[in-house]
Symmetry: C2
Subunit: 331 residues, 2 copies
């Protein structure tokens, strides 16, 4: 099992600090969660049904001609490599590590490369996997470049897979509208933008044939009833979407400025997190953890990802912790 | 995608009867659902964590040394065939059809046979898949016979897979306690007994090595936070378990007597459903559907499965519908 953010109980044990007192900035999940209403008992009791209106609401929200609900984009990441014969796969690096892991596990030949190398040299691959915006590197891409890459791959029966898990705050950059083209696969996560990571819900936008194959592979009842209920309402709440986008952009900007104030100038970022690439990353990670602030530490390259503090109190706590850190460094 | 029960919206469209007015007897899910409390917001917001106490509560409930939570036993059914090289697999027939489907899909050589043929001739197989009690056939098996079959398979690196989705009302028949032995895999469903089919939650009890391989295959966050929360409490509610078992046995007996009164003598059954094997199965299915009562119709062999009516009103409605059916037949 690969390492991920969000392991608060693990951190609580390791640092001897009770789980409920931590400030968890270790994931890219929005701290501004869509307000979940009471879920009708029937949603828990009954087997979920496909034709409950979720697909239609999701198509409108994502601007996609057709989608398949999945148990988090993770479920799609794991299943896609089962739908192709042995392929040459180029995966963005550094990036969310489950992509390369999943393709390798199914026996594909995987190369991990920076996005520009993949886009410049797509001819070498059957499948190119990008993350847009990238996690944790924050890279974003021109729509025209992506479509050109797709065209090159699709002409040879290849795929361009674009993981848009962090796209919801910048929806005009999404490729969902183009996703009915053969060979274009767009992954969306409902957990990040809606702050519903526990719901395990995401969507795949792709051609009808690919969605049918993926649906068959994932089997019946892939997403539970309560999650489908919550998603049907969250995806339709357009006023909330507008408000949440503004809030995420503002909060991420405020986080970038705070980090900068303390000498941690962000290398990159997006509306959901800031990324600081520095050889002191692990030392800062540990020093913050000792103060009950959990960040996500990467080793390749040495870097820290900071999720968004959810309120003034959380900002003040991070501010104070970073200040004490600077003092320690001066000693 | 195979056919399943619980497709109420589909039936509503087909028969032109509003979904909310149906009596749905098409699944084996208990109508006596564990009362789900309000789920804390944090369970929706945060990524689920493994070390939240669910494993421990589940081990106690199932009497198993070790378990892995999965997104319904369906998730395990789909993943197990990915953990073996091409094998000769004997699957109980008739039975829940996803087992044979999943093994075939991964390229294994599958034979579907009655349970007694599988138990008598286990030497021909690398993997034997039983359902205990069987669905829809209701067959149950001697513990000693199952353990002998397992021993024969395990000696050659084989597996005995026992799907105990409907075992919760007869827990002393479970093989969970023996599941640390290599080559014994027990699947449990939380949806049926707890009436929580929407939660998509189940458990696998098996050897540490097999559970580790399955966990790696299923990936992180296989079961959502709200489901893990509900399960932690439902599996620990021992007074409710006792009450629910009594209620299921009583209700299933009452259903058997009602069917018998109307000349539909059950071929077999268990605490969760009654099964009527008869060439008139489809005609009775359609006639009941026209009255807004959904049953599960099988063609091989021609048969109907009746789930439990949940209260006196539901029993009265089924009684009246079956009575009108008899009149029609007499005409």
């Amino acid at each position: 099992m690969l390492e991920h953010g969000g392991r608060l109980r693990h951190a609580a044990l390791r640092y001897g600090i009770p789980a409920e007192t931590w400030l968890d900035l270790s994931t890219g999940v929005s701290p501004f969660a869509w307000p979940v209403p009471a879920v009708p008992t029937a949603e828990w009791m009954r087997l979920p049904e496909d034709n409950d209106g979720l697909d239609e609401v999701a198509c409108t929200y994502y601007g996609a001609p057709r989608v398949l609900p999945v148990a988090g984009s993770q479920a799609a990441i794991q299943a896609l490599p089962l739908l192709r014969e042995a392929s040459r796969v180029g995966v963005i690096a550094p990036g969310y590590n489950e992509h390369a892991h999943a393709w390798r596990r199914e026996g594909h030949q995987v190369e991990e490369l920076p996005a520009q190398a993949l886009l410049a040299d797509a001819g070498r691959f059957d499948v190119v996997v990008l993350i847009h915006p990238n996690n944790p590197g924050g890279e974003s891409f021109d729509r025209a470049d992506l479509l050109a890459c797709h065209e090159q791959l699709a002409a040879r029966g290849g795929w361009l897979v674009v993981d848009e898990a962090f796209m919801d705050a910048t929806p005009s950059e999404s490729l969902c509208a183009a996703s009915s083209m053969e060979g274009l696969v767009v992954l969306r996560s409902a957990g990040k933008f809606f702050g519903l990571a526990g719901a395990r819900a995401g969507f795949v936008a792709a051609s009808p044939a690919l969605l049918a194959a993926l649906r068959e592979r994932l089997g019946p009842w892939a997403v539970g009833g309560p999650s489908r209920y919550v998603l049907r309402h969250a995806l339709a709440d357009q006023a909330w979407h507008v408000m949440a986008r503004e809030r995420l952009h503002a909060c991420s900007g405020r986080l970038a400025r705070l980090l900068e104030t303390h000498g941690l100038v962000p290398t990159a970022g997006c509306a959901f997190f800031q990324w600081w690439c520095n050889e002191r990353a692990e030392a800062v990670h540990v020093a913050l953890a000792r103060q009950g602030i959990l960040t996500r530490c990467f080793s390749m390259p040495a870097s820290l990802r900071f999720g968004l503090p959810g309120d003034d109190g959380a900002f003040a706590r991070l501010d104070a912790a970073l200040a004490s850190l600077a003092l320690e460094t001066l000693r």
